[in-house]
Symmetry: C2
Subunit: 577 residues, 2 copies
Amino acid sequence: MPYTAPLKDIRFCLDHVADTGCLAETELFAEATPETVDAVLGEMGKLATETLAPLQRPGDAGSKLENGRVRTPDGYKQGYEALAEGGWMGLAAEAEMGGMGLPLTIQTAVNEMQASACLSLSLCPLMTQGSIEALTAHASGALQEKYLTRLISGEWAGTMNLTEPQAGSDVGALKTKAEPDGDAYRISGQKIYISWGDHDLTDNIVHLVLARLPDAPSGSKGISLFLVPKYLEDGSENGVKTVSLEHKMGLHGSPTCVLAYEGSKGWLVGEENRGLACMFTMMNNARLGVGVEGLGVAEAATQHALAYAADRVQGKTSPPEGGTATGAIIDHPDVRRMLMEMKARTEAARAICYDTAKALDMARAAPEGDRKAWAARGAFLTPLAKAYGTYTGMEVSEIGVQVHGGMGFIEETGAAQFYRDVRVTAIYEGTNGIQAADLVGRKLSMDGGETARSILNEAEAEIATAQTPMTRNLAAVHEAAEDATQWMLAQNDMAERLAGSNAYLMVMSTLHAATLLHRGLRAAEAHMADDPDFYLAKIAVASYYLAHIAPEAISYAISAKLGSSLHYALTPEQMAV
Amino acid sequence: MPYTAPLKDIRFCLDHVADTGCLAETELFAEATPETVDAVLGEMGKLATETLAPLQRPGDAGSKLENGRVRTPDGYKQGYEALAEGGWMGLAAEAEMGGMGLPLTIQTAVNEMQASACLSLSLCPLMTQGSIEALTAHASGALQEKYLTRLISGEWAGTMNLTEPQAGSDVGALKTKAEPDGDAYRISGQKIYISWGDHDLTDNIVHLVLARLPDAPSGSKGISLFLVPKYLEDGSENGVKTVSLEHKMGLHGSPTCVLAYEGSKGWLVGEENRGLACMFTMMNNARLGVGVEGLGVAEAATQHALAYAADRVQGKTSPPEGGTATGAIIDHPDVRRMLMEMKARTEAARAICYDTAKALDMARAAPEGDRKAWAARGAFLTPLAKAYGTYTGMEVSEIGVQVHGGMGFIEETGAAQFYRDVRVTAIYEGTNGIQAADLVGRKLSMDGGETARSILNEAEAEIATAQTPMTRNLAAVHEAAEDATQWMLAQNDMAERLAGSNAYLMVMSTLHAATLLHRGLRAAEAHMADDPDFYLAKIAVASYYLAHIAPEAISYAISAKLGSSLHYALTPEQMAV
């Protein structure tokens, strides 16, 4: 895979699109100076490019379950060790626990590079990051000392155990039991879809497991969170069995396990029956993390397609009059269209993901009085980052296959693998439908639409900065988003909002990406003289998004405002006639 | 797979959407009475539902190359034999050669069902259909007697050999050689991407191979077509070697071969150096056939998702006030949105495919004076059918995965297989980019835009029939299409047209589908009393398309008219900065 970490693009997005300079001005992140950030990103760029990216294609052969243990693909162990030795698991973890205490925003950029290089392997540290967050916020000092430090060091890895066969999007339906046993508990039940539920990368695995205490209330209010290690302190097995691995369409390197807990010893994390709240602590970050997976695959697929198109010779090329012909398919107008679309969609997803991370960081680091607004912004943007980031990964990798022509359908090129791997990101960590429901339900209602209004206002302020054709494109999207938002807020029947939720999510994602890219475009114009080729590229790609892609919001807005009448015009029986 | 051939939907599309009643009024197709057509469709419906559909999942295990021969998945041979015994290869072939002489339109409906049931297996008869057409039009009487009759009977199967490693979309670059040898030729060279290039379903395989005669002009004007059997008349091997099978993302049951011709004996089909024209005889039909593959997968994926959604219980469901709750996920507004979108997109693709087939049939069967206009219509609609049909297959199977949630990413459910299988349809038989180029180039220019104008006029006439909200939706699409068409016709630099070609193809496909579905909607209203549940479904699904999906044309039209300036704002080097 010809992946090269796009450090300049990342830096540009941080500085001029998501405008994250405010972070280093806070006390909490005072150490995240531009120099430190550059050093960190440069290190990961090197690691991702040289060490992780070469694991992508061979990893497709898959992790295997042999004699009850998962064997990961050749090279994964060395890749993981490089990550652990570099201290990458603890990038955003607290310094007193051995972490670096850097902003989630920087973690996000680092995660993007890992996802681009080798998505399957990157899920292992990502699961660990989630565990670190949950234990930092909710575990007792004793548990933190014993487990958290080893997760941060990368010595051990973490997992998340939520889903059961009858409890997917509806986590409250889970049945795994926890029985008190001295100072601890005995956990029994079966969990499915456990990413990296077993592997050979670390000496121990720390499972975070949702289960029910005896006599717990039914539904989501009766769920508690437990820490269950694969091996106990004396080195003995803790009754966690890997029953099987799922046979998936993609992400073959990442073992997706069915785990059976057979009276496994576990320790309560947080309060009894508050497990879902503990999980939700990290849910925003995990959802952002999955959006970044989509972004990472989009970036990698774009680079991959660009390299192929610049090399593959086929047919007489026909650039416009005066255009230069290279003789490769990159000269064909429709191939050029596909490549510009890939680049533009990728930069849009990056803008939203980084801007979301900034808001989540500022919710912790901003002056006390501003935190609530930043938190609301982060909460509002998170479903956008998750759904639009993963939608972008799917869309861009789909185009990447197309750029390859017949070779795109043949596995050897790797274009198909991006397309297969990224597909699940629109599903796990809350399907994109759940994200859309979260947006039009909780996020639009939490403050009477105030945060939605602030996103619209931000677009208006951006529109006021210029009067170019690109500004007019942004204004058209803004008008559509304004209408759709007013319509949504006027609905009292939640089903009416939900009917248009997916379309509304696309409208708001497109608007926000367009606003951010317009801001970046202005910055690129101002800096043009410093690095003309680079800033010209920023301007062209942002313009492509604003002119060719952002108008999608207009069609989506029409659909978003139609309500549910056509959705329910037929009964399920009539649908199947 | 719970596929049931949608005979009523197919019949409705034939009668009221694509309005194919005119076929039986012609002399050529006088025997294609409604009764005959019903009998034929009913037979295929039974075969597809009971015999072919069960082969879909097991076929994913794939065809294998063993000792130089391809072994197909278990059950494929029985499936193929049922097709051959039923006379299905010769449905549209001439009666004097043993065919049934039915319209391509009926063949199209039959192909849809085969593609829905088991796409991989269906490609084998589809390749044979193409061979039958080419040999009917161009082969000598002797070749027809020896080979054509056995292809029509299904005793032998046919293949198409165009592509070589350096000659994909640019067929003219091919290098395979043909040297005269008595009354025949010796063929030498390597061909790739040969669907069903070898298999164990028939005793012999008839390859149609494009190759160059000695001293032939370079490029596409120096290519001739040869018939090369796998086995010669005396039963001896003819030097056709299966070098390898491609490792593909999907369509595993269909063996995609690299074939080496090592001095294989072949016979000229048609005139010397006119091979590409011979291939083009069947190109329109083959392109339509691939569009129908997309349609078939869309229909199957829709049925599959609908069955899952009506069965899977997850979360509290929230239909609108007054709506009935089944308790399954089909009650969720966004799941309902996905299912209605799947149904609507599928019916749109069916409308375009059947209408294209009708035009191609009428180009042969209509009164002499009308044939040219029908042929022009068929030529104009073919790239729409191919690209929009396959786009629909991809989009609908993508949604089908999403409806399944986590189970969609697990291979066992089969949702992922639809998504993987259908992906290549947007690539082979001319990538969708090639279709778009054909549309804005040859098809828009062949008559100064007259046929495009007739499609726009047809929409206008449909708009004049009613004044409902759905009619206004159609009118909005028409306005966008009118603008885009005028813009396209005003461009002299072909690169400007090509830059917007994909978007323009989507605009015109959406317009034509919307016109046809609006027509169907009116017919359903008129017939309502006959079968209320069925016609209500037709109205609801057509309305969903017109209200929620057709507005996409408005965004596409904006992009279609922007020209190439942003595509070429960067050099290839600047794109890779």
